[in-house]
Symmetry: C2
C-alpha cells in the first residue's frame, strides 16, 4: 500500500468513528427511549475516548485529539440521555 | 508526562474501547430488543473499526489491530442483531 492510500484509509476510519454516534444521539434525543442502550457500554466508551484524547496530547497528534473529541461529544450526549431517562424505561 | 504513564494511558484507553461493547452485545443478545439502537451508528462504527484494522496493518501496529479486532467482534454482534431483529421492533 502506498503512503497516500494508507493516509486516506486512516482519515476515512477517523471520520467514520468520529461521527458514528451522531445517528444514535439524534435517535435517542428524538425518542427519549434508552431501554435497549447499555449504560456500561457508553460509560466505558466515553472513558476510553477521553483517555485517547489524553494520549493524543501525549503523542502530539492533532487528528487523534480532534476525531476523538467529536466522538466524545456524541457519545457523551447518549450517555447523559441514558442517565437521565433510564429510570422510566 | 513520562513515557510509562503515557503508554499506560494508551493501553487503558485501548482496553476500554476494545471491550466497551461487550455489555451492549450481552444486553442485546439476552433481550433481543433493538428498537432503541441506531442501525447507521453501528454500521458506521463497524466500517470505521474495520478501516482502523487495515490502517493498523499499514503502520504495523499490533496493538491497533488487536484492540480494534476485539471491538469489531462485539460491535459486529450488535450490528447483526439489529439487522436480524429490527423488523419486529
Amino acid at each position: 500500500m502506498n503512503n497516500i492510500a494508507g493516509e486516506i484509509i486512516g482519515y476515512v476510519a477517523g471520520i467514520c468513528t468520529a461521527v458514528c454516534f451522531l445517528p444514535q444521539s439524534v435517535k435517542t434525543i428524538v425518542s427519549k427511549n434508552v431501554r435497549d442502550l447499555s449504560f456500561w457500554s457508553y460509560l466505558l466508551y466515553c472513558l476510553g475516548i477521553f483517555l485517547w484524547i489524553v494520549y493524543g496530547f501525549y503523542i502530539g497528534s492533532v487528528q487523534m485529539i480532534v476525531f476523538n473529541a467529536v466522538s466524545l461529544v456524541f457519545a457523551g450526549i447518549i450517555f447523559v440521555m441514558i442517565v437521565r431517562y433510564r429510570s422510566r424505561s
